[in-house]
């Protein structure tokens, strides 16, 4: 300990590469995006002029931007609700000592598999499966469920439903793993004490599991939101790359890419889309994180349980926030 204290400055040495990397490849690009959003830079132009807020006023003038934002929120919300719902149900079942289900590890591992697969390939796969001559039409027509083959990807509701389904399909397995990690770190004595007091299964879920899972739920909520606001691969590759049918799956980043990839390559306009979405997402994520994470309440619940625990058995573990490496969660 004493020696470590004398080596204090080494801490800075070890974090310096990260800080330099962050300044060069994290902070500066963010600054540059903000700066570009006030200019009329294009892919071709060598010089650019400052045009103030013109890019922003133009964004709000046509309704494309608001459509993209509302599409993104819609696609995310409708995938997140069933995702957390199914994951919660399965996690409760998988950790239940009463049900004692078999091969929990295998079920869980299989449900997680879609999360690792290349989203671009998954979008292309569903594009093929649901194409006019694709297997889904064959199955439905031959099975007598449909009179004739359908253009699934020309129907607004079905296409949106597919994006939502794919997102749910890719992410519910991961949510199960995180929820289960949280649930298994709740001390079993709490449930035993509650059972002695005559609490039922649902009561225990509401009064013990949910409150103690709160930090983990917030974590899942925030990471999913941040990922969901950046949804690109699936809607871009599922249809024509412009949000067809009728712009119904055009998301924030699809719009940003369209500005960037247009024949002139409007870097300035694309940056302004990026800036607005960046601000919206960051504000939402950070405020959810800080407003919902009321430590007092958690501490109170825990201390109440600790009193109980002293009567049964000592030692309390609580649910900390789990973490994901690398990739972004949706």
């Amino acid at each position: 300990m004493l020696i470590s204290n004398r080596k204090k400055y080494y801490g800075y040495l070890f974090i310096t590469p990260f800080l330099i990397g962050f300044l060069l490849f994290g902070l500066y690009p963010v600054y540059n995006t903000f700066a570009l959003s006030f200019t009329d830079t294009t892919l071709m132009s060598r010089e650019a002029t400052h045009i103030g807020l013109d890019n922003y006023t133009r964004l709000f003038a046509d309704d494309l931007f608001m459509r993209a934002v509302s599409n993104t929120w819609l696609l995310w919300t409708l995938n997140f609700i069933p995702q957390i719902g199914i994951a919660m149900l399965l996690s409760v079942w998988f950790t239940s000592t009463r049900l004692r289900l078999k091969a929990v590890g295998t079920w869980r591992a299989l449900f997680y598999l879609p999360n690792l697969l290349t989203p671009a390939a998954i979008a292309a796969l569903f594009f093929s499966l649901f194409s006019f001559y694709g297997p889904v039409n064959q199955f439905l027509v031959r099975g007598g469920f449909l009179e004739e083959a359908m253009h699934f990807l020309q129907d607004v509701e079905i296409t949106r439903g597919l994006v939502i389904f794919i997102q749910w399909w890719m992410w519910f397995g991961q949510t199960i793993i995180i929820l289960m990690a949280g649930m298994s770190s709740i001390p079993i004595q709490l449930y035993e004490a509650a059972m002695v007091d005559g609490a039922g299964g649902f009561q225990m879920f509401r009064r013990i599991t949910l409150p103690l899972l709160k930090p983990i739920l917030i974590f899942i909520f925030v990471t999913s939101l941040v990922g969901g606001m950046q949804l690109f691969d699936i809607p871009y590759l599922l249809t024509d790359g412009r949000g067809a049918p009728q712009g119904s799956i055009m998301t924030n980043i699809v719009l940003m890419y369209l500005k960037f990839g247009s024949s002139q390559g409007h870097i300035g306009a694309a940056s302004s889309v990026g800036v607005l979405i960046f601000i919206m997402t960051t504000v939402c994520a950070l405020s959810i994180f800080y407003f919902l994470r009321d430590k007092d309440q958690d501490a109170e619940i825990r201390s109440r349980f600790r009193l109980r625990l002293q009567r049964t058995e000592g030692g309390s573990r609580s649910a900390g926030a789990p973490t994901l490496p690398g990739g972004e969660a949706r």
């Binding site: 990260f18 962050f22 995006t33 598999l113 292309a124 289960m180 606001m229 789990p322 490496p325 690398g326």
Partner: protein, 281 residues
């Protein structure tokens, strides 16, 4: 009373297994159809669904290669890129995490919170500014632009920190210092060998994330011979392959199967890796 309880328990267990099987079918069928269709001829695919593989894998492979799409090149590109990104991000994340866990310094708590905030910020939205910056440096269409940013990957640092906190032995480090080891030497020769399991887990995630990344290379890379597999997927959807369903499915399967193989081997580490952060206060 007790018999009733066991009976209802058995029934609900039966229903739950039924539900799980249904969910499993939903999870697996799309992937299964992808792999099976990669072995079927276009005619067979057009004639109906099958859950059994056929014999046209080689034919599909020939068609896939005959239309000017170099899938092995894409395979090689994706692999090189993912390997480089993995090495860089694991090494530098470990370095940063070691600094946080082992040393007490002023601003450490601030730095810690900073990492957590970074995890929650959508950095991908600054891609346009990044592109413009790289083009000024002449680094567009260069893998360096995709590899170097992984020096500072906040998510990986957060994860490495959680791992190191659970395994670093301060007494061991002090003992090494008494034996005259330098701080960097301690990191390289004592800590890294001990942290191999954690680094492997973090590495798998970094590798898969890079392998699957479509957006960043799609924005930055323009020469065809530098295309990665996810970028080739877009080419597969184009006109050249329009009616060659077998070849399309094979191309997609070649993108996805390596990941499935990695998962089949390391699934235990991967699943426990996701849950690894759930530790005590």
């Amino acid at each position: 009373m007790i018999r009733n309880y066991t009976l209802s328990n058995t029934i609900s267990r039966g229903l739950i297994y039924l539900f799980l099987v249904a969910l499993l079918l939903v999870t697996i069928i799309p992937i299964w159809l992808l792999i099976v269709n990669a072995t079927r001829s276009t005619t067979e695919i057009q004639n109906g669904i099958s859950i059994l593989p056929s014999t046209h894998l080689i034919d599909n492979y020939r068609i896939l290669l005959s239309r000017g799409l170099n899938i092995w090149r894409g395979f090689q590109n994706s692999f090189v890129l993912a390997a480089a990104t993995t090495i860089i991000s694991v090494y530098f994340s470990m370095l940063t995490a070691f600094g946080i866990v082992v040393y007490d310094f002023k601003g450490k708590k601030l730095f810690n919170n900073f990492i957590i905030v970074l995890v929650m910020i959508p950095m991908q939205l600054s891609i346009i500014g990044f592109y413009h910056y790289m083009s000024r440096l002449g680094l567009t269409d260069n893998y360096l632009a995709l590899i170097l940013p992984s020096i500072a990957s906040a998510g990986t640092v957060f994860f490495a920190k959680q791992y190191l906190e659970s395994m670093v032995i301060h007494e061991l480090i002090d003992a090494a210092r008494i034996d005259g080891a330098g701080e960097l030497g301690i990191f390289h020769r004592i800590m890294m060998p001990l942290a191999v399991p954690g680094m492997a887990t973090i590495g798998i995630f970094a590798f898969v994330a890079s392998w699957n990344n479509f957006f960043t290379p799609f924005i930055l890379i323009s020469s065809r011979d530098k295309y990665t597999l996810p970028m080739l997927v877009k080419t597969l959807q184009g006109d050249v392959y329009r009616t060659e369903y077998g070849a399309i499915y094979l191309g997609l399967a070649m993108t996805v199967v390596p990941i499935i193989v990695i998962y089949a081997i390391f699934s235990r580490y991967i699943v426990s890796g996701i849950a690894m952060g759930a530790i005590k206060e």
